[in-house]
Subunit: 636 residues, 2 copies
């Protein structure tokens, strides 16, 4: 079976981190460097900075006006104005001008009465000594501490440092991190992929995560799965860089060399952590530098980076780690977790009514898109078996809560128009967003009923009346719920270009490789209905139990010849250039509790359904009608 590291130890996360950070702190001392203040934005001071000059540098006018000797203005009043003579009694000053002996007060220009005579002004109130004068050092006194050590420099700090005469500053050296992707199957982005190729993208994510943390990243081209190549690269990098990341080869596959290389070159402190996803992480020290092997799946890579690389970078850069904001949210679905590991479940978060709701997303470690879609993580501790729907959980947010509050939460059936709306929303209504989760029509209505969504997109055929959606809403809700009319769309069978198997309708699906939609999807209900009409049993359809969760996922399986046919909407077939055999037309609408209709982002949503830009997109996608789009039908 080749060289496999079958049995990884799984150290608990906190313990692994403690062991490793102790080793890192022993091996490395953070370094400093002196740089110009003008280039110091976002750098961290390595020690306190003290002012060289005072600011202001001298007693100076705080206002535009005239400098006077306070004593000579005594007695001035409305009845007895005092007249002052330029050069004798006063001097014209602008804000910031030095005030020198004998002058010891400033009178504002607005408080002067002009006289007929040039060079003479009258005042009707005396000036108090030192009024409107900024004394030397009022703002900054030479020798005073301006910034403490360990301070991350902001724009205002740059201004004040320069004012105080500081032009160079000692800061913590920016850590330099080498990033090595590995894998013979990896190809560079921009290359046309062949079967078996994987586009190397993790290292680019790391590179940018490193930059976001104030460090520098040097990303190398992918290394082949070859022990000697990997060893030589890591050995040389551990001499030149402050930290080295290797991705992947950290697991137990036949070609996972990383751990062996690191054992040869230095010390492996941890291999395998009780974290999911992210388990096969390697924490090592080579040549007194931290070297970390990260798993290959994008989500595992991201989570193990956040858990182990981030703390090391914080230490090297002497930054206080910014923690993600944690909020309490109601979880919308039961989550089962194993006691074997701490689990990070990606969630979408929405504010519905006064509840913050967290809806779990796909849990696969390969689902990078779920990281893009997620608003945060629900962390299930190692000693917990999970939580029930409706329980309160802690969510680490990495999206702004304010943005989440301005987001229409859409849970239900999937359609490509949801992407179009998601794109139009922030463009036409800055700051407003939609977030959609695809759980099928029935799943959407259930979420709406539990108060976890604002809108549920549905296309549910009532077999008795032949009408769509309204009867389901009437049956399910006690509170008043309306239907925002969406689009009419054509459902049908997607087959490969040219329809090689000559499929003419559902009756021809027996014996071929079919892929179905998940339970509760309107498309699956329609398929079941049609099967019943034709008297075909599900068992007769090969692949009836093989499920995909969106129209596009079904289209992709057909396109790649992994299946011969699947049910879906025309726009998905068009997008993937598949042939399409129409089966029926249906109404795809949005159920909405009446009390949400006045929310600004729901109003915006309705306006978008009505706007011509949206209708133009529908023409592009193909297979839609929209004569009633945006109309509100009360289902009372």
């Amino acid at each position: 079976m080749g060289k496999r590291n079958l049995y990884l130890k799984t150290t608990p996360v906190a313990e692994a981190l403690e062991i490793y950070m102790e080793a890192v702190k022993e091996a490395v001392k953070p370094e400093h460097e002196v740089i110009p203040v003008t280039e110091a934005l976002n750098r961290v001071t390595s020690r306190a900075v003290y002012a060289k000059y005072c600011s202001p540098l001298y007693n100076s006018a705080a206002m535009d006006g005239i400098a006077v000797v306070a004593r000579r203005t005594e007695g001035a009043s409305e009845f007895h104005p005092v007249e002052l003579v330029l050069g004798e009694d006063y001097k014209i000053v602008d804000t910031g001008d030095p005030i020198k002996d004998p002058y010891d007060a400033v009178i504002m220009a607005e408080d002067l009465l002009e006289t007929d005579c040039e060079g003479r002004v009258r005042i009707i109130a005396p000036a108090a000594p030192w009024q409107h004068i900024r004394p030397i050092g009022e703002d900054i006194v030479a020798g005073e501490m301006i910034l403490p050590g360990h301070h991350c420099i902001r724009p205002i700090d740059v201004g004040v440092l320069l004012s105080a005469g500081i032009v160079e500053i000692e800061v913590v050296k920016m850590p330099q991190v080498a990033v090595f992707p590995t894998g013979t199957e990896m190809i560079e982005p921009g290359t046309e992929p062949k079967e078996g190729d994987i586009i190397e993208s993790n290292s680019r994510m790391f590179e940018n995560m490193i930059r976001s943390q104030g460090a520098q990243a040097v990303r190398f081209a992918p290394l082949a799965d070859n022990y000697d190549i990997i060893r030589d690269a890591v050995k040389s990098a551990a001499e030149k860089f402050d930290m080295v990341l290797i991705n992947a080869g950290s697991s137990a596959g036949t070609e996972d060399y990383t751990v062996h290389v690191l054992r040869e070159l230095g010390e492996v402190l941890i291999h395998g952590v009780a974290i999911k996803p992210g388990k096969p992480v390697i924490l090592a020290i080579v040549n007194n530098r931290p070297v970390i092997g990260l798993p290959g799946y994008p989500v595992s890579a991201f989570i193990s980076f956040e858990n182990f690389v981030t703390p090391v970078l914080d230490f090297l850069g002497q930054r206080v780690g910014k923690k993600n904001k944690t909020v309490e949210a109601v979880i919308s679905k039961r989550l089962v977790s194993s006691l074997k590991h701490k689990e990070y479940v990606r969630v979408k978060v929405g504010c519905v009514g006064d509840k913050i709701v967290a809806a779990p997303l796909a849990r696969g470690a390969g689902a990078a898109m779920s990281l893009v879609r997620a608003d945060g993580f629900c962390v299930i501790e190692q000693n917990s078996e999970g939580c029930e729907a409706g329980e309160t959980v802690q969510v680490e947010l990495y999206r702004d809560l304010e943005e989440i509050r301005n987001t229409a939460v859409i849970i239900g059936s999937h359609d490509l128009i949801l992407d179009v709306i998601a794109d139009l929303m922030p463009d036409r209504y800055p700051g407003m967003h939609v977030s959609s989760t695809h759980v099928g029509s029935m799943g959407g209505l259930m979420a709406l009923r539990r108060g976890e969504a604002h809108l549920a997109p549905v296309h549910l055929l009532d077999e008795e009346t032949g009408s769509y959606n309204i009867s389901y809403i009437r049956k399910l809700f006690r509170e008043p719920v309306a239907l925002i009319k969406g689009v009419g769309r054509v459902q049908g069978i997607m087959v490969k270009k040219g329809n090689p198997l000559q499929i003419g309708g559902i009756e021809d699906l027996k014996g071929i490789r079919f892929v179905n939609r998940q339970k509760g999807a309107g498309t699956r209900l329609l398929f079941d209905y049609k099967l019943r009409l034709l008297g075909i049993a599900p068992e007769e359809i090969k692949g009836y139990d093989r499920e995909a969760s969106t129209h596009m996922a079904v289209a992709a399986l057909v396109d790649s010849d992994s299946a011969d046919a699947g049910m879906g909407i025309r726009s998905a077939a068009t997008a993937m250039q598949l042939d399409f055999i129409p089966v029926g037309e249906e109404e795809y609408d949005f159920a909405v509790p009446v009390r949400y209709l006045e929310l600004p982002f729901i109003k915006a949503f309705i306006e978008i359904l009505k706007c011509s830009e949206f209708h133009e997109k529908l023409v592009e996608l193909g297979g839609y009608t929209w004569e009633h789009a945006g109309e509100v039908v009360y289902c009372g």
Copy 2:
């Protein structure tokens, strides 16, 4: 009186911004550009991005193990293991390897039983069709929207874009902003300043504020106060840049040319806004580009930038403005404001007990250090006359609330050791801070009593007992308050180097130019006590009413010959290289309610008082003793 624009109109902030943004939106259309995805971090998508490839690109193994034909594994159980033959029944696969016909399932390496025979394995459970296989497009489907428009690109987005075959992306063009400092009195940082010179630093603050908002800044050398020079520079910049900032010359001084230049070159929409500080702002359009004149005082410059430049940059860069977080806080001091303007009062914010307390800082527009020290702004609306101490106010935070919660709030008497402690704290105790406000000993005890501080540094002599601090605490508090012993320090008279006026003691201060400390300061109380002992009346001291609020501020006035003498501590005299005539020794301690003694940052504070690094700093500063530093004395 020269060319003054005496009477600025003062348009309310919201109205001014609305008028200007409307003009900007009419004049400018945000531009786009195509850049490599690998350089797109923090850029904003100008339109939705759709996937080019699926991910995974093919059905692939989700686990390390073997690929099998599910049908051939049927019936396997512990009692009837099924033996599989390499090449015939199975193929070894690592995670990510393509799974091709006839294989339709993967069995994990962990679930295989080895046999004696190479190339044969045994299984004890059947494989379900499609198990451990990631179907093509499971993560990303070609044609699917990956990112909407108006999305700020994060590290994870870069990874997913590349995985989906996107290597170039259309983003909003980064706005290019020209920054022109003006003023003949301006000198560049690094030049030795002479009287009348001002170190030009605002433009460097702007430059970094612009960068922090994702735009590019080009900063020019200061322009002389000359109409033609300013006109030519602005005219040419308005052709090459997306936006132009001019600082300052926006006010009504004799040499404020900016508004005249802008009237000649384009249209001035607003001159003067009802905002404090920041009133004399100029909002103009030249050659269809936004051109803004900003006031010269650093705080005015900062506030008018945030109010007017930031929204324009957000529009040009198509970003949704990040608002500062707003919290409710109790204001610790009465704030009076005029109905004439919206006022921004800088505050320090502390969490004391369960209260968030906001303490107003210096309100002068020139006090740039107050911006460095501030944690946020308390905004007093134009239609409000201010607020009373203890009232709840809204504070716009620009420091992290979490950091504020880990901060020891110190209000009271000033000493240079507070800076030293502020520097040592985050170094020895990462994430912990001290924040200190200087209001004198009595002011500190009052703040402690109102629950607005954790610690009050005090040096209050009880004239009856001759002892320090304890009797004041006993008198003032009902709850148990302890004293953390600080340092002994020498108070005395600071005079110019060489003591030219031959001052030998307080009796020699009559007739010379004295500068006093503010009321309530322990140093002032000591001075009053000494005056009384000597039978000298305050009126006999010239400058008894001239106040400075820190030891260092007094030292700076003496050093610059603005005063002949002032009272203060030896370390301040040493820092400014002044001569020092000792007057007495005193005890500088920290009053603390007993219930705070267990807080982690108070414990850390006590440890710092005891540590040798701190004592070494005291030696450097000079004039301190520390035999009891860090001891806790209960004043019950």
